[in-house]
Every structure is written in C-alpha cells, then in structure tokens.
C-alpha cells in the first residue's frame, strides 16, 4: 500500500513536461490538401527528442497523413499540396534546397503492413547502407548484426541471413523492417500502426523494442490501440477530423483529459 503510494508520488514528481524537452521536430500551422479536400487543419505541435510520441484518433482523422509529412512521403501523391512549415532540428523540411533522399535517411519509417524486399534477410537490412555506397563487408556485417539485435530479431535469424526475407513470419518481417529502418541510424523513426497486423506476442516484442529504441531515436507512433499508446508513449496527441485536438504527456491525457471529446474517445464512446 505504502509502496504503491510512493510509486505514484514519484511518478508525479518527475512528470514529463514538454517545456523541459529538447525539441526534434517543430510543426507550425501545417495544412495539407488532397486536391481541394483539406485533410490537416493548421496543426501546430512540438515533438520531443528521444521520446515516444503516440498519435491516436478515429479512422480517417489524418494520423497517417501527418506522419507521412515528416519524411515527405506525401510528395509521391500528385494531388497533395501543403502549407506551413515543419522544422527538423530547426531546419525547414519543405524548403526547395532540402535533399529529400537525405531527409528520408534522417527520418526512417516503418509501415503498417510489413514490406520486406524479395531479397535475403541480410540484403534487406543493409539495403539502405548499400544505397549510401558502403561496400566494406565488415561494416555491413557489423551494422546488420547491430540492427537485427536492436530489432530483437538476431537470435531468430542469425543462422539464415541468406534466406529470402519473404519466408519469415509476419511479426518477424515487421521486426526486419524495423531493423532495416534503424540500420541507417536515422534521427527520427516513424511507425505507422506497426503492430496492427501482428499477434499479441509479436506485438509485445515490438513494444519492448520501442522502449529500448527511444534511447537512441525519437519515435513517433500511430496506433489504434489505447493500451498500447498508454504503455509505450511518453506523449500522446489526439486527432479528430484533421485537427489536433489535445496533445500532452500520456499520463495526463489518459488520466485527466482536458476536453470532453478526448475523454469520449479514450473511454471508447466513439471511434
């Protein structure tokens, strides 16, 4: 009893506050349109470094759209137009001078559905390195091992690195995609519903992984699973119909939401 109290008091005392954080990404008055349809409305937020920030909200509210803004993946869609600014460590992402490939090396992404390349496990992980022209076998070997260990996959695949990656299970494939993303050592890692296609055990493995990874990376994660958001994230942003409704540290948002809308959503009254 006393211990529990002590614990809650402790956690209250070092409660996370955005003002104390180093900021990795700063979004200012960000609007995005699919053709004439506006999908994001004047988003302004600051994303802290070496923390996990979760994005929650009902389907179609623009979570993926926003996440894809952080590595300019939306550039691939012809109809998209944007306004506002997003700064990565103070540098404007959407300026004309920005080298998009270089930006994507700094901001890695893992997609909802695992998408390994039809190559060997080894080649999948070192794909990004090879793109950078790294040929040194030793560097490649070391990085592949580091990334696979980082993604908690090494023990399972170390004896079959030359097998086709498509032969892995869904959860293994997803962890492989994470290994592939972290192998190029990005600053920020974007995860768009990384566990939605996985079984509970793989999900747990990936959640533990996220906890480890935040020591090295700034992590932004989209999820539909409230428990997951509560478990893994330090900060949570609730979005609704393209608006950022509420954004604060995860504890406060889940225990003490300021807006009724947020409360309704996290208590499952809609969404």
């Amino acid at each position: 009893m006393s211990e529990l109290k002590k614990f809650s008091m402790e956690s209250a005392s070092d409660k996370l506050r955005l003002e104390d954080e180093k900021i990795a990404i700063e979004v200012k008055d960000w609007n995005l349109y699919y053709g004439t349809k506006q999908a994001l409305h004047g988003i302004t937020m600051q994303l802290p470094e070496n923390r996990v920030t979760a994005f929650i909200g009902p389907s179609g509210c623009g979570k993926s759209t926003l996440l894809r803004c952080f590595n300019r993946m939306n550039d691939l869609i012809d109809t998209v137009s944007v306004e506002g600014s997003i700064l990565l460590h103070g540098e404007e992402m959407y300026s004309k001078r920005m080298d998009v490939s270089a930006l994507r090396r700094r901001v890695g992404m893992v997609f909802q559905k695992p998408n390994p390349f039809p190559k060997t496990i080894f080649e999948n992980v070192c794909y990004g390195l090879r793109l950078q022209g790294i040929k040194d076998k030793q560097v490649l070997d070391e990085t592949v091992e580091w990334a696979l260990r980082g993604a908690n996959l090494w023990e399972e695949v170390k004896d079959r690195l030359d097998d086709n990656a498509l032969g892995l299970s869904g959860g293994q494939q997803q962890r492989l995609c994470i290994a592939r993303a972290i192998a190029i050592k990005p600053e920020v890692l974007l995860l768009d519903e990384p566990t939605s296609a996985l079984d509970p055990i793989s999900t747990l493995a990936i959640e533990e992984l996220i906890f480890d990874l935040k020591k090295t990376f700034t992590i932004l994660i989209v999820t539909h699973n409230m428990q997951q958001a509560a478990r893994v994230s330090d900060y949570t942003a609730f979005m609704y119909m393209g608006d950022l409704v509420e954004y604060t540290d995860t504890d406060s948002l889940f225990t003490n939401p300021k807006l009724k809308q947020t409360e309704d959503y996290i208590s499952g009254r809609y969404g």
Binding site: M73, S101, N115, P118, Y127, G128, L166, G167
Partner: protein, 548 residues
C-alpha cells in the same frame, strides 16, 4: 432440365467443348506435320509397277509410292456414270535419264496383283541430280572393271566411306580455311580502298598491304593446290554402274554419292538407324539442288541468330519505354494517345513493318552508315543493303508492343508498399526502380519476350524485304572476328519453307521437305519458348511469396 439450364451447366459444356476442339485442332495439326515430315526420313520400300502402255506392251516402273489421288473418270460403258479412279505418284528418281523424278500412273493401267517389291534394289543419293534407283552391276575405274557381282556392294560401301572422308576434308578447306583467307583478303581490299580514299596509299602503308596480300595469296594458292590434290584422290575412286528398268545403265561417280541403301533388304532396326541418320543429315548439312535436297543447317542458324539478336534489341527498348510510361510520364491525354498507338502498332500487318524496315533502316539508316564509315567501299553497300541487323531491328519493332504491354503490366503489379519501402530508406526514384521494381518485374518482362519470340520466329513476310535470302553464301556467325556479321544476309526456315514448297522447280519432290522443315520450325520456336519459360519460372520462384 430447367434446373440444369438455370445452374448454367450448359455454359460449362460449351466452353469445355470449345477447349477440346482447340486442343484437338492443335494436336491434329502437329501430328499431321510430324507424320508427313518424319516420313521424309524413312527408307521406303521400292516397288515394281508393271504399267501397260497404249500400244499393248508392259513397261516396268520402279520407285517409291509417294502419294495417291482420286480422279473422277467416266465409265467406259456408260459415260454418265463417274468413277473415282486412284492415281499413284511414284518417285522413280534417275532424273538424268528420265528427265523428271516423278511419274503419275493410273490404276487402270496396272494389274494391282502384279505389283511387287523390287529385289535387291539400291537407292543412291547423289550430290547432284537426285536419287538413283537401280541394281548394282559393277565398279569401274577409267573404263576398267574393278568389281562385279556380289562384291560390288561391300566395295562400294568402302569407297563411299573413303570419298566422304575426302569430301569432308575438301569441305573444311573450302569453308573454314579458304573462307577465312578470303575474308582477310576482302578486309585487306577494303583497307586499301580506305587508304586510297585518304590518299595514304604509298610508302610504308602500301608496302605493308602488299606484303600481307602476297602472304595471303600464297596461302590461298597453297590451299587450292591441296584441295586439287584431294579432288584428284576422290576422282580416282572410280564409278559405280547400275542397271535400271529397260536394261539401261547409269554410271555414278563415287565422289557424287552421298550415301546408298537397299531399302527392301533392310530390317526394321536398320531402317530406324537410317531414319535417325537421315535426320542428322537434314539438321547438319547445307541445302543442295536449289534447296530441294540436303539439309537446312544455315536456315537453322539464321533463324536462331535472328531471333536471339531481336531479343537482345527489343528488351532494352521495350523495358525502357514501359518504365518511362508507367513510372515517369504524367498521366494525361498525351500518354493515353501513346498507349493507344502502341496497342494499335500490334495490329499493323507485318509486311508494313518490312516496308518500313527497308525504307528506314536499310536505305536511310544503313545508307547513312555507309556514307559515314564505309565511304571507301562504295559503290558496293555494306550496311545499306538488307542484312541480319536490319532484319532483327525490324522484328524488334514488330514485337515491341508485346514487350511494352507485358512489362507495364508487370510494373503495375508491384505493390506500392515496396516502392515506398525503398524510398523511405533514402533511395531516389531511379534507385528504387532499378533495384527493386525492375528486378521484380523480370518475370513479366520474360512473358513479353516469350510472346515476342513466338511471333518473330514465325514471321516471314517482312524478313523477305530486309535480309532473308534463298541461299546465303556465308553464315551470319562464324569463326572470323567479330564472329557475328550483322551486315550479312541470312537464311530463315520460314522463308525456306516458302521457297522450297512454292518456288522450286520440283514442287512434288520437295513436298516432304516442306513438312519436315515446318516441323523443325515449330520445334525451334517451341524450344526457344521453353527455354524462356524455364528462366521465367526460376525468376517467379524467387519472387513467389509476393503474390499474397
């Protein structure tokens, strides 16, 4: 019954019967061609047909039965009644004596019961004048008798083997050794022309050319002499004399003999051996007698080279076009127009491509190449005349739409998530396409190539305009650098069929050859396709897990 209709069972039956009709047609066609073609290689029995002539005498016709046709003839007693009377086409050979190889005889003029196998008949295949059918009589040399009676057959066997060894040697010298010397002399001649055109043909250069030429001529003369020597050796092998119908005699020089056999004395096993050796001859020998006899080796080489070169040319063109259209070009009216044009290109008659190839590739492109690089060879054109390169290019153009369309289909099947995966790792669009998208589209590209090969190998009409000839003196690939001669004219099985079947002086004689060549063409297309399909399946295996 109504229930049966409602379930749509009748549609299943309809489509099943449509499928079986197609299958039966395809296999029937193949079986017919195979039967007629392979019959050509069989050692047919030779019969004696006693034919009664108009003046009441009986004349013996000796030969193989080739064909039977039914002719409508009026009944002798009642002209209103028509009978179908069989007529037999007999291959009698001995063209030098009879003038023609074939004879039609009406069954009314023979007593069918009197037809019998010709005893001990010998068939000799000659390098010229076709087959001889007769009875071995004697062997002579310069009018002197060497052997007669029962000895003749064994001695003849011996001599024919010797002569074939000699002829092989002569052939080797003629084709390979002297061919190569000739090629070098021709190169030298062009070199000299070039030097003359640049006004550099004097001093050292001139001396060098002349020295080389002297060397080559000397080598040529030496080879010629050794060839003469071999010819002499072949000549002193003597000749064989045969008796043919009506006690006439035919003398055949040993060196004229390809081979001989006694079909009526052969066992089944011997006939099978003969069958396979005939196929061997057919596949490996040059054609003789205006293509109506001998083999089709140059046509096989020509067809395969042309198809492979076409594949090499069409792949990059088609793949690049498809990649541009589906990955880079902005969707809009222009792209739609291009798509429609490409689809329509597939429907343009092939002869139109031939005309385009002749007009654009041969005359304009080839002409300009000649002007630019081969000015010294004028007035004889090098590339400004139909040839292998232009034929392959024309075929590449003809098959381009198939390759483009199937490549595009393959590209569109690659999931978006994989492209995004590549891009998210910092790959540029180009890197994503070359490293991920294109390798995964290779099975689809192979499908395009399979269709292209099938179409190109069977096409004849456009080739007649841009490089295929009835008889090409040289193969398009040989042992003289640069090994593949893009400017050479070449032979093609499809055109060979047309030429043998419809342009030769002896259409009857060559009919089996037409079937045999058709069978071969089908087999070659099949095996090229099988090769491509095997490669495709291996690629598919590699990417198979993608389909889920």
């Amino acid at each position: 019954m109504r229930n049966w209709f409602n379930k749509g069972e009748h549609w299943i039956w309809f489509s099943a019967s449509a499928v079986s009709v197609s299958v039966v047609l395809v296999f029937g066609l193949l079986a017919m061609i195979a039967y007629k073609g392979l019959l050509h290689f069989w050692a047919h029995d030779v019969y004696v047909y006693p034919v009664s002539t108009a003046n009441g005498q009986v004349e013996e016709v000796v030969g193989e039965l080739h064909d039977t046709k039914f002719k409508l003839m009026a009944d002798e007693n009642n002209p209103k009644v028509m009978h179908e009377v069989p007529e037999y086409l007999i291959k009698t050979g001995n063209r030098d004596v009879y003038g023609i190889d074939f004879k039609w005889i009406n069954s009314k003029n023979i007593d069918l019961s009197q037809i019998k196998l010709a005893d001990d008949i010998t068939v000799i295949e000659r390098y010229e004048w076709g087959n001889v059918y007769g009875h071995l009589a004697s062997l002579t040399l310069d009018g002197k008798l060497i052997a007669s009676g029962a000895d003749v057959k064994d001695k003849l066997q011996n001599l024919v083997e010797k002569s074939n060894v000699l002829l092989d040697k002569i052939h080797h010298i003629e084709k390979s050794v002297m061919g190569s010397i000739n090629y070098q002399i021709e190169e030298l001649r062009l070199e000299e022309k070039k030097l003359r055109a640049n006004k550099e043909y004097h001093g050292e250069a001139k001396a060098e050319v002349e020295e080389k030429r002297a060397e080559l001529s000397e080598a040529f003369i030496k080879q010629q002499a050794s060839m003469q020597e071999l010819y002499k050796q072949a000549d002193v092998l003597g000749e064989v004399v045969l008796t043919i119908a009506g006690d006439q005699k035919i003398a055949v020089k040993i060196r004229q003999i390809v081979r001989f056999w006694q079909p009526n004395n052969m066992s089944m096993l011997e006939k099978l051996g003969f069958f396979f050796s005939s196929i061997g001859h057919f596949l490996t020998e040059d054609p003789r007698e205006a293509n109506t006899e001998g083999g089709v080796f140059p046509a096989i080489v020509g067809t395969v080279t042309m198809v492979l070169l076409m594949t090499v040319l069409v792949t990059p063109m088609g793949v690049l076009a498809a990649v541009y259209m589906s990955e880079y070009a902005k969707n809009g009216p222009v792209l739609r127009m291009v798509r429609i044009s490409i689809n329509n290109l597939a429907g343009v008659p092939s002869i139109v491509f031939g005309i385009f190839g002749l007009g654009f590739f041969v005359y304009i492109l080839g002409g300009s190449i000649d002007d630019l690089f081969y000015g010294y060879a004028a007035p004889s054109p090098v590339f400004g005349t139909p040839g292998l390169l232009w034929a392959s290019l024309t075929m590449a153009l003809l098959t381009l739409p198939v390759v483009i369309v199937s490549t595009q289909e393959g590209l569109s099947r690659i999931p978006r998530s994989l492209r995004e995966g590549g891009l998210a790792l910092g790959a540029t669009k180009f890197e994503t396409i070359t490293r991920i998208v294109l390798p995964m589209a290779t099975p689809a590209i192979m499908t395009g190539l399979i269709l292209a090969i099938a179409r190109a190998a069977g096409e004849v009409a456009p080739l007649m305009l841009v490089g295929v000839v009835k008889l090409a003196p040289e193969l398009p690939i040989d042992f003289n650098a640069p090994f593949i001669h893009l400017e050479n004219k070449f032979m093609h099985l499809g055109f060979h069929i047309y030429d043998v079947g419809f342009q030769s002086p002896n259409v009857e004689a060559s009919q089996p050859l037409v079937y045999a060549t058709s069978l071969l063409l089908v087999m070659i297309i099949l095996s090229l396709n099988l090769g491509a399909i095997m490669i495709r399946n291996r690629l598919r295996e590699r990417y198979k897990a993608l389909d889920n």
